[in-house]
């Protein structure tokens, strides 16, 4: 029971912190892309493509944190005692 509480607290704080970093990064990327598009509207399609691809890269870092959270939730991370017992055997 305590394990579940600890797991929920860890995931509940871990994933949103990763999302903060991802949000800041994506905001910066979109801001500079929009500024460049406003400066030179005829280059807008190329800038839009590069912006979307850059956003996918930044988002993938947040997705890594989400994947760790999913692994912990669904397949379970053994507690330290169980892990040590299996290693000693």
């Amino acid at each position: 029971m305590g394990y579940l509480i600890a797991l929920v607290i860890a995931i509940g704080f871990g994933v949103p912190i990763a999302v903060i970093g991802g949000g800041l990064g994506q905001g910066k990327a979109v801001a500079s892309a929009l500024e460049a598009m406003a400066r030179q509207p005829e280059a807008a399609p190329k800038l839009q493509l590069a912006m979307i691809i850059g956003l996918a890269f930044i988002e993938s870092l947040v997705i890594y944190a989400l994947v760790i959270a999913l692994i912990m939730l669904f397949t379970g991370v053994p507690s330290a005692g169980v892990l040590l017992k299996t290693l000693v055997k």
């Binding site: 996918a56 890269f57 993938s60 999913l70």
Partner: protein, 238 residues
């Protein structure tokens, strides 16, 4: 989480497939069959003038992919467009299949994405080794000042191995996350409103179409960029 049952569950019931095979594998076969059927439908009926609508659509797809690959790789696009285009179309169709009721996305299973990333890794290494030559390939790992080689070699190797890992995890996390959000939205509505079938997950499904497209594009483009970087080493050393 227990495995969802798809339309292809009868293959397991009739014992044609073993129990431990994920439901995603027969769905992958169905997608492959659809792609092959879609292309074979055009065989022997290629018109140079006055193309029909289906031929015009296929030409549009191929020419767009060729332009896209050409913007990444440059002149090698003749040999590379089939590979990168195939990655794009395959991953796009695999990811979109999950939105059809009664099917799962094979890319929402980590096995499919790791397999695709491994294939991409082998393709990139093959291009690097055949174009650079094996000695130059190893020298590229050793870095510039040769006395820093014991430090640079593990860093380069780990960086090289991190690329297929990131490809697999990015695709898996995006597609599985989208499917999970759709499933959770459906569950919330059904549990709170007493099994009411309100399609509140429909905007998320539209967003999932967008995400599948972007992730397929990013995967194919990354494979193209890795190959282009490996080939650029080749032309630099001349």
């Amino acid at each position: 989480m227990e495995e969802p049952k798809t339309w292809l569950h009868f293959l397991y019931v009739k014992h044609m497939l073993p129990e431990w095979l994920p439901e995603a594998v027969p769905v992958t076969w169905v997608v492959i069959l659809i792609i092959c059927a879609g292309v074979i439908a055009m065989s022997g009926r290629w018109k140079t003038r006055l193309p029909g609508r289906y031929q015009a659509f296929l030409e549009f797809v191929v020419v767009s992919l060729d332009n896209f690959v050409r913007s990444i790789v440059g002149d090698e696009a003749k040999t590379l467009t089939p590979i990168i285009g195939s990655f794009f179309i395959f991953i796009l169709l695999l990811s979109l299949f999950g939105l059809i009721p009664g099917f799962v996305s094979p890319t929402a299973n980590i096995n499919t994405t790791v397999a695709l990333a491994l294939v991409a890794f082998v393709i990139v290494q093959y291009y690097a080794i055949t174009r650079l030559g094996f000695v130059n390939y190893i020298k590229h790992f050793l870095g510039e000042p040769l006395w820093l080689a014991p430090l640079m070699f593990p860093i380069h190797v780990i960086g090289e191995l991190a690329r297929p890992l990131s490809l697999a995890l990015r695709l898996f996390g995006n597609i599985f996350g989208e499917d999970l959000v759709i499933a959770v939205l459906m569950l919330i509505v059904m549990r709170l409103l007493g099994n009411a079938l309100i399609p509140i997950q429909f905007p998320m499904m539209l967003f999932a179409i967008f995400t599948s497209f972007i992730q397929a594009l990013v995967f194919a483009m990354l494979v193209g960029i890795y190959i282009a970087v490996a080939l650029a080493e080749h032309s630099e050393s001349h």
